[in-house]
Amino acid sequence: MDIPYTVKERPDTGLYNGKLGIWLFLASEVMLFGGLFSAYVFLRTGVETWPTGADILNVPLATMNTMFLITSSVTMVMSWASLKLKDFSKFKLYAGLTLLLATGFLIVKYFEYTAKFDHHLYPSTNNFLGIYFTLTGLHVIHVIGGIIVISFFWLTGAKMWKNDPDRFTNRIEIVGLYWHFVDLVWIFLFPVLYLL
């Protein structure tokens, strides 16, 4: 006996186990980032003055970063679609592009952070910077996690693709869902921190 519904979907829920699992995990992640967003709202409302994001942070650079992540979301879902079309080399192409764009995001963040430190702007300087570094820092950790997992499947995927293509396709779908969530968080982070 094997555990049922690891690849095939259960008829009444329309889900295989991993997909339900990742959606539930993402629900908890919504509450995690929600806690930090709630902290931002609480802290900002509790004080008379609050810095303008655009004065301290680099909006053009972050806009470019936003485009990197949005594009990486497209390439990620394209990598899954390629597997559905049984095209493994296209999967590797799109997954590779996703990794490239994600790394690009990280590089930009590296320059952003070091530029702040060079100007003696640290998390401890004021609560705006504190929450900026904490929110984007936690987001960066999630980006790194995504890169690690996508790289793992990019490097070792061929074997599982050969033995159990449907299961591999599902795994990429699950990773994709996680990756889209990472993009989603940034879609809210960007305007809240940089534009308001």
Binding site: M1, Y5, L20, L24, G35, A39, Y122, S124
Partner: protein
């Protein structure tokens, strides 16, 4: 059977097992050890409370000057007692141990949905608990700002607080992974015929508990990250401007809010108390149905009440914050939701109580603990009402009344239910029987001394004795008349500790006894009893996976030949 045919080493079979039953036992044994340890910390504290500034016997040489418990260490013991009992003890036992072991069996499947993730959850819990204990050995000792870790105190506290925060990250992660596993397992892996309204109440309770953990824990993780930033990166998320610490103005940016921590903390910590009680409701229901030989009265009411309770638990948290200066309208909102949440609790307790009517009651050890749960939880619940009403809470907040209230629900409440579960399911896990005499002695003495420890707390609390006082209230004139109760409570606590020896001895001799060969000695109806061996087969649980044809508590069905009809019996 699993299609894994590779041979298992000692390590993969017992230590890094992915079998939900082994993992359940790992959670069970680890959590029982931590419960004993957490209890010991409190027994030490109670010596200081009964005999202030006297040297502590036995271990006095290890601590402080002249063996007297220093006040900072008292605070550490207090904070760690709460933390250990809740996060290292009760939740891993109620949810990690019982949930993992019995949910797959009760729903008729071969393992949890994600076995490797399950093993990961356990080891994260293990690592998190070790980290917590390491706190005792760092300079300044373990965390000492209460289990609630309120800033600004927690922000400026000694190193042990940072260790506490790191420990919590591991424990929270463990919980989240475990919740995902239980939720997917129950939604996706129920056996054929096991519809939602045929699930045993135990499994429903675990399912709802998992939802609470999934959505409530992350804000505390967020708060933990923020407090770590305050402590390690010098941020001021929780630090107001111009704070004076030890006579000096703190050199930080300020502008933060201690109340922010309280909101994020209690957003978890209130649902957490329902995490503590829901599995207990589930276990007591199983034991009551079995030992009254009749179905539970009001199965549907119980399920809907538990679901409603779960949802409501998210919108009552600020009743822990009534005296923080909230306006009356917000206070009224939380008071209203708090009063409403008492309704499902009452429905559930009434359901359990009414289930006894007309039953053929067997007074075995699990049933005694389950019966004891009912009035004890009743006292705990009723004493919560003045705390939930903002006006009365002004007087009672942060007094011993609160400690009495929550201990009644958790100690002779949940922990009694957990003991009921251990005695009830021991034959299923081991194929052996526990000693009834020792079990009854364990129950009677525990029952007496639980009340001896916690009932006087209401008296002290009403007299205005604050909690977390190293001297037990000695310094306050208003406490003078009730100080004598400290000695009463301490002796009750030590005797309660001694009473657990009956349990420990019982476990040891029962584990060493011979298997009885009985598969279903209690004559129970649920699948874990009727369709598995004792213990169930490793990796696979069932010779043949059963299908389900009826509800979970078909006891004494008119016209049936036995007084119980298994869920998996056709017709």
């Amino acid at each position: 059977m699993y299609t894994d045919h590779h041979k298992e080493s000692f390590w993969t079979k017992y230590i890094f097992s992915t079998d939900h039953k082994i993992i359940g036992l790992q959670y069970g044994i680890t959590s029982l050890v931590w419960l004993l340890f957490g209890f010991t910390l409190m027994m030490i504290m109670r010596y200081q409370l009964a005999y202030p500034e006297s040297p502590i016997p036995f271990i006095g040489t290890l601590i402080g000057e002249g063996g007297i418990l220093p006040s900072e260490m008292y605070n550490s013991l207090g904070a760690m007692h709460g933390t250990i009992m809740i996060f290292l003890g009760v939740v891993p036992l109620a949810f990690g141990a019982f949930g993992n072991y019995f949910v797959p069996l009760q729903i008729g499947t071969i393992d949890m949905a994600f076995p490797k993730l399950n093993a990961t959850s356990y080891w994260m819990y293990f690592i998190g608990s070790i980290i917590m204990i390491v706190g005792f050995f760092v300079p300044g000792g373990a965390a000492n700002s209460g289990w609630t870790s309120y800033p600004p105190l927690a922000d400026v506290a000694t190193m042990g607080q940072t260790i506490w925060l790191f420990g919590m990250v591991f424990l929270i992660t463990s919980s989240l992974l475990g919740s995902v596993n239980i939720l997917v397992t129950v939604i996706q892996l129920r056996a054929k015929g096991m519809t939602w309204m045929k699930l045993p109440v135990f499994t429903w309770a675990q399912f709802i508990t998992a939802f609470l953990l999934l959505l409530a824990f992350p804000p505390l993780e967020a708060a933990g990250v923020l407090q770590l930033m305050d402590r390690l990166a010098g941020t001021s998320f929780f630090m107001p401007s111009g704070l004076v610490v030890s006579g000096e103005i703190l050199n930080n940016a300020g502008g933060g809010s201690p109340l922010l921590w309280q909101h994020l903390f209690w957003f978890l910590a209130h649902p957490e108390v329902y995490v503590l009680i829901l599995p207990a409701f589930g276990i007591v229901t199983e034991v009551l149905a079995n030992n009254t030989r009749k179905p539970i009265w009001g199965y549907k009411s119980m399920i809907y009440s538990m679901i409603f309770l779960g949802f409501m638990s998210f919108i009552v948290w600020a009743h822990h914050m009534y005296i923080t200066g909230m306006g009356t309208s917000i206070g009224a909102f939380f008071q209203t939701t708090t009063m409403i949440i008492s309704i499902p609790s009452v429905v559930i307790l009434t359901t359990l109580f009414l289930s006894l009517w007309g039953g053929s009651i067997r007074f075995n050890t699990p049933m005694l603990f389950a019966l004891g749960f009912i009035p004890m939880f009743g006292i705990g619940g009723l004493t919560g009402l003045p705390l939930g009403l903002a006006a009365a809470d002004i007087h009672l907040h942060d007094t011993y009344y609160v400690i009495g209230h929550f201990h009644y629900v958790v100690a002779p409440g949940t922990i009694f239910a957990l003991f009921a579960g251990i005695y009830y399911w021991f034959p299923k896990m081991t194929g052996k029987r526990t000693n009834e005499t020792l079990g009854k002695l364990h129950f009677f003495f525990s029952f007496i001394f639980m009340n001896g420890v916690f009932m006087p707390m209401f008296v002290q609390g009403l007299a205005g004795v604050s909690r977390r006082l190293w001297d037990g209230g000695e310094i306050y004139a208003h406490a003078a008349d009730v100080l004598y109760l400290n000695e009463v409570m301490s002796w009750s606590a030590w005797l309660l500790g001694l009473a657990q020896i009956f349990f420990i001895v019982n476990m040891i001799i029962s584990l060493r006894s011979k298997k009885t060969g009985e598969v279903n000695p209690w004559g129970a109806t649920t699948i874990e009893w009727t369709d598995t061996t004792s213990p169930p087969l490793g990796h696979g649980n069932f010779e043949t996976v059963p299908s389900v044809y009826r509800g979970p508590y078909e006891y004494s069905v008119p016209g049936a030949d036995k007084d119980f009809t298994p869920q998996s019996e056709k017709g």
